[in-house]
Symmetry: C2
Subunit: 334 residues, 2 copies
Amino acid sequence: MRIALDAMGTDDAPVAEVAGAVEALKDTDGDLEILLVGDQDAVEAELARHPDAPRDRVRVVHAPERVLPDESPAKALRRKPNSSIAIGLGLHRDGQADAFISAGSTGAVMAGSLFILRPLAGVDRPPIGTVIPTARGPLLMLDAGANVDCKPHQLVQFAQLGKVYAQDLMGIPDPRIGLLNIGEEPGKGDERSVETHQLLAAQTDLNFVGNVEGRAIIQGVCDVLVCDGFAGNVLLKFYESVASFIVGLLKPALGDELLHKPDVERIFRLLDYTETGGAPLLGVHGITIICHGGSPPKAIRNAIRVAAQAVRSSLVSHFERELAPQQTPALDDA
Amino acid sequence: MRIALDAMGTDDAPVAEVAGAVEALKDTDGDLEILLVGDQDAVEAELARHPDAPRDRVRVVHAPERVLPDESPAKALRRKPNSSIAIGLGLHRDGQADAFISAGSTGAVMAGSLFILRPLAGVDRPPIGTVIPTARGPLLMLDAGANVDCKPHQLVQFAQLGKVYAQDLMGIPDPRIGLLNIGEEPGKGDERSVETHQLLAAQTDLNFVGNVEGRAIIQGVCDVLVCDGFAGNVLLKFYESVASFIVGLLKPALGDELLHKPDVERIFRLLDYTETGGAPLLGVHGITIICHGGSPPKAIRNAIRVAAQAVRSSLVSHFERELAPQQTPALDDA
């Protein structure tokens, strides 16, 4: 398996990317190869600082351009065909890589994946999934910010994609699908939510558990939480910030000794987004994982692990199977 | 000053209401009187359990009916004209009370306030405000769930109401107004947010600081956060639950001794919604404060304190002044 990693994405690229890639390579038994896509000299120089890197399984692919965080994603992709994002996605499209990972401009990675990989049939607007910790284990929330003003039938597509992702990547055979809403009853919420609830309830192949209020998310009442990208993005960013806010408040009060108690460390780790390994863009012809711009090596390593798992589980073909129009069995099949 | 308190609102009514009212009365020096609105016998019996209650400043107003949590708010108000909510709001409308507080059905308190008190001129849909703790002090978020599918000009009304509330109740002379959104730049977000941003930026009498992302809320980058009730409700309920989730995770790991360190107690108190004292419904002809159904006496006491402060500061007439169409001064006034 070969994974293309944008080496120019994080705020201190290519330092975190190279370190994360080296860690990921050392984790695995040899079937993983990584293409570091970025400025050849900079990446080679950084690689040289890792004498322990398994050099037979890492290759640098030169990409002389870089999409900057404040550039318009669509324009940047047009103007910079040799950016690390465009070249990395091109390698994936052409079958020279099985997945693509980037911590660069989320907008550009998303737009590039749409243009270069293309959406799957039955997916109008590929959503970003993100895994958040809850009291009952991880929960996949989607859309986490790729699309706003979503239509109800698009939210149903998110539910289908989320179901398959939870099966393949989270090991949940029959994921409970919830709809983010401001009341539990079917008629509650804004117009979109009321209509989406009806559509989801009519999908016999989805284990739809109904509306999920803000307070129920953290209780883990569902495995897949479907929402418009506006609410999803607000929630996700809020969660990350509020967890570190509370942890930051408590740290000085707790003192060093206590902070390193195994129980306390475990909790802080649970709330640490760098453990979750990037957010997949779901519903394109390929595996794209989007990481934070501030990702440390650990987050990059985890994203590589997730991407490899998605490839191994044939995630994309499972998406296609789920999205295929249901065949009504002919009578003589019965 | 006289405050009408729905004595039948909390899950264990009238226990928390009576205890909270007695505490509030003992807090003040004598200018506060409380009308406990509810089943006369039940409330009197509960009052008898507080021999220290200043009985000259508390009066029971009999309300034989009670709106149940799962009743349709509009129907319940029509069918139960003698509910504690309807009678309490009627006392306020008729000038026999200066404010109304209830921990009963949020929908019924809201609907009752609209029907009985009526919205102020210039307010299409009165929002619920809620004060949340941030790194830089309290922040007023509105709408916290009264209205969904809000129009941009209605969000501008929320900003005007929020500005006045922050001035009068939070002591902030020129509150920073932020718009909840999924990007900082003016063109970001869904259609509603893009248009609302333009309208807010054009309001010269508002200190509009721009879009506020989910991660910036907790940093306290604004004093008033304007949003549709869908996102606001999701965020609010999520915040309450995530704070207690994290605190709950940490408590067993920390142990009793540490939990009672003053620093740690202060932090847990900061994250405790019962400290904030209920959520005001803004933009009606009166002061309505809505409390959680699970409110303990402390939360009721704090709601009484907030209501009294709103009355003393002439909140409603300040709303009217802010909402009045701007007079263009005649030339000879210059």
